[in-house]
């Protein structure tokens, strides 16, 4: 009975704690007493509650944002430094006003309030039309509640700013409410389990509200594409609006649907002035582009020639995004531009030469979208690349790095799907990366006349392993390449030579000899390999929240043959191993074969899927420990006993 009583009290208490609307300056006893977050007991600060209430005044979005934070432990005081970022542009596209902020301390049951005055808010001008309001809360101590609210207006309402329920500190409650007028219709795109399962409908049509509770703080982990891809959040895209056109005869009114299908969206985008010039260049631009005529006997050769010409003559200004910043004319003149500019200009060149090419929008890793939705929601994408089909084969192109050969995408673009813009049949298509990356290592170890161990090695890097770490930029300078590979051990590496080829696939091959220890003791331990994909296990944490992202799949093969010198015999060698992670997406095999006068060690590492679920993290970690450990195990030779 007593148990039941406690349960009822607790239930009542926790409902009472945060059930009512948050009023500025009014704190519940629950908030005042709170000194630890149940689901994150070590947190030094917590968002007690935050609300974004959105309405429309005409076609201007008004967001009333209110956030309340509690400092729970030392170190949490730094939450008192606030920056509110917004895009002002030249004409105040977004603006922030009605700022109120205060610190409240509770001493002997009394509230001690310190309000911020106007002079405490600073406006900071950032680059390219962005601004920030910055301020800092005074008198923060452990136990303080700090609270601020403001109005943010936004005149650009086709895509509303995302609301991210997650914060860098844990969040007890975060609510996003939107009151849509009858003349506007929006499509929403929720991300994250809690947001997806939130009951957002209210009793009134047009009023929607998402509340997400008890969110952990979110932090980056090693081998992770980006934590932003896993945030709980919601986005909005205009789906339609009511209009009245009084200039038409007799007046005309109705409801205009926007982007009801992928093809509608494609039509909208491709007819924008910024895109038209690239997609349908005029005669003068066409003749300018005609000055380059690609050599080649078939479509593939021609497309590659166009790509090579383009990346060698046009340079990337470092700006990303899927919207072009300049028109084709300007790009042809200045020979530089943003990613979208360059890729669209490449498209123009390809089409000029009769090659099929289409814009392909993707959500790159780190864009905050781990999964695309199959509704025409353009805000889910952040990069524009090119889809091409030559001689019946599909390729994806990005013209921002001349070191990437035709058909290779930067690793952050290795995503599952993209939105292709076609004249008909636009929509999501799978992106299939067919490259087979990997490292092949062949080592031959023998002893020279001075009883010194000498290893002759050939190491071949293929595809993304050849492109990784800027290796190809180092090919011109073998010395630098050597330093990159061996660091300060480079002194022991002789006759280092490196060569590369682009066809049929990107490959780099390094050949070298390296000097090991002398064979002078009774027992000699010899490490059969010169290098490994990982020198040590990059996974050191014992638990994992997010998937491990290896960026690309690969298949490695290492072989080492040790010639047993005269006067020595094989005494001992590592045991064979054959391991895989559950599901078999990664496997490792290690085999030692003793032959007459030599011993051969072969190892393979295969990764069949580049993203590994956190649910098998402990097994993956042990797998990696196994791989790194086994590859450094020695072969033991001992001096033969004379008969």
């Amino acid at each position: 009975m007593k148990g039941l009583y406690t349960f009822i009290i607790l239930l009542f208490f926790s409902v009472g704690l945060f059930a009512q609307d948050m009023k500025f300056g009014k704190y519940s006893q629950g908030e005042i007493n709170l000194n630890q977050v149940d689901f994150d007991p070590e947190a030094n600060a917590v968002v007690l509650e935050e609300i974004s209430y959105n309405q429309f005044m005409g076609v201007v979005q008004h967001s009333n944002i209110h956030r309340r934070i509690k400092v729970l432990k030392d170190g949490g005081q730094s939450q008192g430094d606030i920056a509110i970022r917004y895009y002002f542009g030249k004409t105040g596209v977004q603006d922030v006003s009605k700022l109120t902020a205060q610190t409240v301390n509770f001493e002997n049951g009394l509230e001690k309030v310190t309000k911020l005055s106007k002079a405490d808010f600073f406006e900071v001008e950032l680059d390219n039309g962005w601004k920030e309001i910055r301020f800092t809360f005074p008198n923060i101590e452990v136990g303080s509640i700090i609270e601020y609210s403001y109005l943010k207006t936004d005149k650009s309402i086709t895509f509303l700013d995302s609301w991210v329920f997650h914060n860098p500190i844990p969040t007890i409650k975060s609510t996003y409410t939107i009151d849509l007028p009858s003349y506007l219709n929006y499509r929403f795109l929720p991300q994250g389990e809690k947001t997806l399962s939130a009951n957002f409908k209210t009793q009134r049509d047009g009023l929607y509200s998402w509340t997400v509770n008890n969110l952990n703080s979110i932090k980056e982990e090693p081998l992770m594409s980006h934590y932003r891809d896993y945030l709980e959040k919601i986005d909005f895209q205009l789906a339609g609006y009511a209009f009245v056109n009084s200039s038409a005869y007799g007046g005309k009114s109705g409801f205009q649907e926007t982007f009801s299908s992928w093809q509608d969206l494609t039509k909208f985008i491709t007819e924008l002035e910024e895109f038209v010039q690239y997609l349908k260049p005029n005669a003068s631009l066409r003749s300018q582009m005609a000055s380059f005529s690609p050599p080649g006997n078939n479509e593939t050769e021609k497309a590659k020639a166009v790509y090579d010409f383009f990346v060698n003559n046009y340079s990337f200004n470092g700006r990303s995004g899927f919207f072009p910043s300049k028109n084709l004319k300007s790009i042809l003149e200045t020979k530089q531009g943003s990613r979208a500019d360059l890729n669209l200009a490449l498209l123009s060149y390809l089409r000029q030469n009769g090659i099929i090419a289409h814009p392909l929008l993707i959500s790159s890793k780190g864009n905050g979208r781990s999964r695309l939705v199959d509704t025409p929601f353009i805000d889910q994408f952040d990069q524009l690349i090119i889809y091409t089909k030559v001689d019946g084969k599909e390729f994806y192109l990005d013209a921002t790095d001349k070191n990437n050969p035709f058909g290779y995408l930067p690793l952050f673009m290795h995503v599952g799907y993209g939105y292709i813009m076609l004249d008909e049949g636009s929509g999501l298509i799978p992106i299939t990366i067919t490259h087979r990356s990997g490292i092949v290592q062949m080592v031959n170890i023998r002893i020279d006349n001075d009883q010194q161990l000498v290893a002759s090695s050939t190491i071949r890097f293929s595809d993304y392993d050849a492109l990784a770490n800027d290796k190809i930029k180092l090919v011109e300078s073998p010395e630098k390449f050597k330093m990159e590979m061996f660091g300060t051990d480079a002194e022991k590496v002789m006759e280092f030579a490196v060569q590369q080829k682009n066809e049929p696939r990107k490959q780099l091959e390094a050949k070298f000899n390296s000097i090991g220890n002398k064979m002078d003791s009774n027992l000699t331990l010899i490490n059969p390999f010169q290098m490994a994909r990982w020198n040590q296990n990059p996974l050191t944490s014992d638990v994992r929240t997010f998937p491990v992202d290896f960026s690309y799949t690969f298949s490695d093969s290492y072989t080492s043959i040790l010639e047993i010198p005269q006067g020595y015999e094989l005494d001992d060698y590592p045991e064979d191993a054959n391991v895989a992670i559950p599901g078999g997406d990664a496997n490792f095999s290690y085999i030692v074969t003793a032959l007459d006068n030599s011993v051969k060690v072969s190892a393979t590492i295969n990764l069949k899927f580049s993203i590994i679920s956190p649910s098998i993290y402990p097994e993956l970690k042990y797998f990696m420990e196994m791989v790194t450990g086994k590859l450094s195990e020695p072969i033991v030779l001992k001096k033969s006993v004379s008969p």
Partner: protein
Amino acid sequence: MKVVLFSSLKFLAYFVNIYFSNAQEEKPYFSVLEKKDQITLNEDYSVNYKSQTIIEIFDQRGLAHARLNLPSDGLNKINNFEATLTSLNSGKLIKKVKLRDLKEVSYLDDVSIYDDTKLKVFELDEVSLPVRVEILVERVSLSNFFIESWLPITYYNQKVKNAGLELKYPQILGLRFKEEGLPSSYSESKEGNNILYKWEMNNLPVLISGSNDTIPIIEIAPKRFSLEGYTSSMETWEGLGSFIGKLNRNKDELPETFKSEVLRMVEGINDPYEKVSVLYGYLQKNYRYVAISLGIGGWMPRTASEVISTKYGECKALSTLMKGMLSAVGIPSQYSLVYAGENAKGLNKDFPINRFNHAFLRVPLDEDVIWLECTNNYLPAGFSGDFTMDRDVLVITEKGGYLDRTPDFKDEKFNTIEIQFEVDLLNNGDAKLSGRNKYLGFPSLDYFRINKFGKEKQGKDFLNKYLGGNGVILLDYGIQTGSKREIPLANVTYEGVIQRFGQETAKRIILPSHWKKLEEDMLPNGILKLEEEFFIRLERKFEMESQVIDVKIKEDYFTYWVDTQLSEDGIMVKNKLEVKLPEDISDEEKIKLVNKINNQFQQYKLLLKKAA
């Protein structure tokens, strides 16, 4: 190296020229610069800067060479700006840019919430190359407190065809300058009441990032100066100190109620260090570092009372408050200025100049002097860390100021790691682990930060990664931080497993005689004592195959000992590393040495034969 070459110029002109022309062929440049600069000090202490430059850019990487960030605030005004872009291919004018076309952004740094300085930015976006950019800038600074240095070469990979400076000042105010690495000398003349210095130099060598070339520079400092009504002389450090003293005057006065609170905090404590420690601890716990720079505020601290009422402040204000608190309990201390962080240059006794970016506190005690870093909230009093260590600082006194030097913390007691653990080796090569490590000085700081800011998981992740070798998975751990006077200490206890502690072959298990790898950042000031003592308990019968190791290796800059002892139930391993790097070691040499030491750690393995 460069200075020597230049000073031999008149004797070896021919060879020197050949040397330079070769050098230029080898070193790539992305732009060519011609510039004429004028710096004019006026009788009202204002300084005019006029700059006429022509930059020809051939490579996209040279576009940044035309970028200008022109400060504009209460002290700095831009009077005129004009830029003309001309295509070098066609000779056609591309565009003209005026002052009103420049975009304005706030000045931002990593530490301030806000700074009221705005920057007018000129940058080349996308233009067809090659391009010729002619720029005229006229600016005025209302104070000569800080006169900009002049660099004939402002960018790496830039070829300077010619560069000239005219430096003019009224004789009555005077001016001082110090040259470094300049290829040619100056001429001096008199124009009425003004003195005029002129430098003219041609075809300067292209500088490359990462090389050890001296960057030529003229540092300029005032004799008499004025800043918003405060006037003083910078000819001596004392003069500069006295000016700072004026800005700080009475700022450290505490409200009476607070003063009595401070006195209560140290009631019953006699040891002056203890008093300092208690008050410093109070500051660290209750005040946070927040920098807001408004107007002269960049140089003038907020008052102690203001800091007390808001519970935050910048380095100047927090130091001032601490000074006030110490003064209230009868301990004198001195506000001091320093160039903190990396890239600190020594201060020249004979060339006082305002080159500081940070303030902290000097506290003389009975036996020694300690320094308090008032923006830090976890260090023990007197351990001011590597942010300000081992460098010249300007100490502000009531009479003026003088130069002093901060401690280098090179003593062993600030640089020691003691690792002690036991492992139970399991049949599969994994091992059960339990141990206790002690960190003194710099090595302990990570643990202070974890204790202060981290969570259990972060502590565990950190230890799994950095406690010792690979494969550590801790099940339980504890971190205790504290101090022995100014020495920060951390004790870490832990239990867990080491995956694959031993390497296994068919017949053997091979065990390391050293566990913790050396990393470069374990040598922040070039000194380290790293001691390990571990006992390996064996689960089943093994035969020790390798002989007992007892080695001492003495190499340049480090000594390493290993000693192993066999007993019935296992092996005891003791090793000790002592590193002492020379002052002038380069990064590359440091990496090499660290690698060499790590290789040394790998040399001595323990071979165990599995029992049949």
